[in-house]
């Protein structure tokens, strides 16, 4: 009897087995996001194969050129190829954005777990710190930090980590507060496991989902922050190409050569859209059954 019941239950759920691996391609937003981001990342990575133009070579006899077969999107005010600058700029911006998400993710998750699981003193201390950070607007703090530390990728990492961990800590703390009241955590304690094992093997896998989903939208935020910093001249320093810097440089020629600012802007928007779609799809896919 019991065996028959279990057998039926197992067949029925065989469909859900490895839910993620089987279902991801049936989630439209995830697939669309993956296609968009995949295309952009691939093009940036394969930049030397796609274009033969150097992103930094100045052709001063051929400035502000219109699109041609040699310069697909024309050239900027220093005669640099716009198309290749977008591709190489993406390499820098995307790398910095992905890396800048990693550290806040790790730090925020760790602190959120400690805060939620141990509560009391740790919770009070960490959450007061979070309150302080939240009170100051994201951009103001990032810009001030980068300004103080000096422009460049290293400062961006530090500034975004310093500001960004807060969201992860809050998300994970909230999830942990719910999960730690679950009986399986009590069961793990009753089994005589250490706190580190309980947090790492029993708690974390159950609470990490929301943080992963948030990380996707956080990358978008970081790309925008990097572009904004670049626009303000605090980001990636010339001559290294960067989308924000390109938008800023092209501004003066907006009425005559609109593509100099507009196209990098559109690329930023499309990248952000793709990452948002991935985040949306992940939220659907990782939602517990």
């Amino acid at each position: 009897m019991a065996i028959a019941v279990a057998e039926g239950a197992l067949d029925e759920v065989a469909e859900h087995r490895g839910g993620f691996r089987r279902r991801w391609y049936r989630t439209p937003s995830f697939v669309a996001g993956l296609l968009i981001v995949g295309t952009i990342v691939t093009m940036c990575l394969a930049a030397p194969l796609i274009t033969s133009q150097s992103p930094t070579h100045q052709d001063l006899n051929n400035i502000l050129a219109s699109p041609s077969s040699k310069h697909l999107l024309g050239t900027d005010q220093l005669g640099r190829d716009l198309f290749s600058r977008i591709l190489y700029g993406g390499r820098v911006d995307l790398r910095v954005a992905f890396l800048a998400v990693l550290l806040p993710f790790l730090i925020g998750t760790t602190l959120g777990c400690i805060s939620g699981y141990y509560g009391r003193f740790y919770d009070t201390a960490i959450m007061r710190l979070v309150d302080v950070m939240v009170a100051i607007p994201f951009y103001v703090l990032v810009i001030a930090l980068v300004f103080a530390l000096g422009a460049g990728a290293r400062s961006i990492y530090i500034a975004i980590t310093f500001v960004g961990w807060v969201s992860y800590a809050r998300i994970i703390r909230g999830e942990t507060l719910v999960a730690k009241r679950q009986e399986y955590i009590l069961a793990a304690r009753a089994a005589g496991f250490r706190d580190s094992r309980i947090i790492g093997r029993h708690l974390l896998p159950n609470v990490i989902t929301q943080a992963i989903v948030y990380a996707m939208s956080d990358i978008v935020l970081d790309i925008l922050a990097i572009v904004t910093l670049g626009y303000l001249g605090l980001g990636i320093q010339p001559p290294t190409p960067d989308w924000g810097g390109m938008i800023a440089d092209g501004q003066a020629f907006l009425t005559t050569k609109w593509q100099l600012s507009t196209i990098p802007g559109v690329v930023v928007v499309i990248t952000a859209l793709g990452l948002s779609l991935i985040g949306d799809g992940l939220a659907d896919l990782l939602r517990p059954e």
Binding site: A2, E183, G192, R201, H202, N206, P288
Partner: protein
């Protein structure tokens, strides 16, 4: 069986300080469990059964704490042990089975890994040795095709299978004592019976002792040798299941037994115990059961009512237990146990 009990709880007190007052969740509970024996700890909801169980493991919910008494387990006093010692006892020497196998199993971990985790942590087994132990345990608790089921997640198993997994986890480190917190309440009756039979078989084969917390007297009758009846945080009557069911010597036990539905007698209404269990923030003076007791007299209103020995392994907290005895001889409670 040896003479010294494997678990000896003496005058255990648990208090939970809350803003509206201190809850005296357990106020002087005493009972013993002999090696290889099963004890049924029964009582209605909120009488302190589960708190007693959690106190034994040192897992009282914050801010609850043990404020008195002793918990002797194989000679160690668990009531005053430091956290590290307690951790070595939990899982390794005392296993626990929870009521709801769905929520007590980690939803994102394969059940085979969950069974293997205890042996890896407490017995220092290698990954492959622990896996082998897990498969063997799954076979032992009657899970068919263990190799396949070990890779399943809890939601892929039926309730009965999940409870078998829980039992396998509880047994995984070969503990001397297993605590069961209403292990069959969440299961339907046919599965319930299978699980109880399995537990009894495991107890026989492995010689572990069992404490069975339940409000289901039928479960106690089927699985336990001894019974301890709890009311308002105290043990009010203990004895062998046979003695207590045939000749209860406490009005509360009598009331519980009379309120069990029976199929062999046609009755208009089901007997019940009138009134509410006492507020454990401000327990009544005198006998805690006195406001609801049909036999209560003047002398029940004042003083302490500790367990009073009636015979070997038999005790009651009632000072007028003869009244119970008379009532039972006039109108027997048990015809079929």
């Amino acid at each position: 069986m040896s003479d010294t009990p494997i678990l000896d709880v003496r005058d255990l007190r648990v208090e939970i300080p809350l803003t509206r007052g201190t809850v005296h969740a357990v106020q002087g509970a005493s009972f013993t469990v002999e090696a290889g024996q099963a004890l049924g700890l029964v009582g209605e909801s909120g009488c302190g059964k589960s708190m007693t169980l959690r106190a034994i493991l040192g897992l009282l919910p914050h801010p609850g704490q043990i404020t008195g008494g002793e918990i002797r387990f194989e000679g160690d006093d668990l009531a005053n042990a430091d956290p590290k010692r307690l951790r070595d006892v939990r899982g390794a020497r005392i296993g626990i089975i929870f009521q709801e196998p769905m929520t007590a199993l980690n939803p994102v971990m394969r059940v085979g890994d969950q069974i293997a985790e205890g042996p890896r942590v407490h017995l220092g087994n290698s990954r492959s040795a622990a896996r082998k132990t897990a498969l063997e345990l799954m076979r032992k608790v009657g899970i068919p095709d263990p190799a396949r089921r070990a890779r399943a997640y809890p939601h892929e198993l039926s309730g009965g299978m999940r409870q078998r997994v829980m039992i396998a986890i509880a047994l995984s480190c070969e503990p001397r004592l297993i605590l069961c917190d209403e292990p069959t309440t969440a299961l339907d009756v046919t599965i319930q019976d299978q699980i109880l039979k399995l537990l009894s078989a495991m107890r026989r084969d492995l010689g572990v002792s069992v404490v069975f917390v339940t409000h289901d007297l039928a479960v106690v009758a089927e699985t336990c040798e001894r019974i301890a009846v709890m009311y308002a945080g105290q043990v009010v009557e203990t004895g062998t299941v046979d003695e207590v069911f045939r000749a209860p010597r406490h009005p509360y036990t009598l009331g519980l037994l009379r309120s069990v539905p029976r199929f062999d007698v046609v009755r208009q209404t089901l007997d019940s115990i009138p009134g509410q269990p006492p507020d454990l923030v401000a327990p009544p003076t005198g006998c805690p059961f006195q406001p609801r007791c049909g036999f209560a007299r003047e002398d029940c209103l004042e003083g302490d009512f500790p367990l009073r020995r009636l015979g070997p392994g038999r005790a009651t907290a009632c000072i007028h237990d003869d009244d119970c005895a008379q009532d039972v001889s006039a109108n027997p409670v048990i015809a079929s146990v």
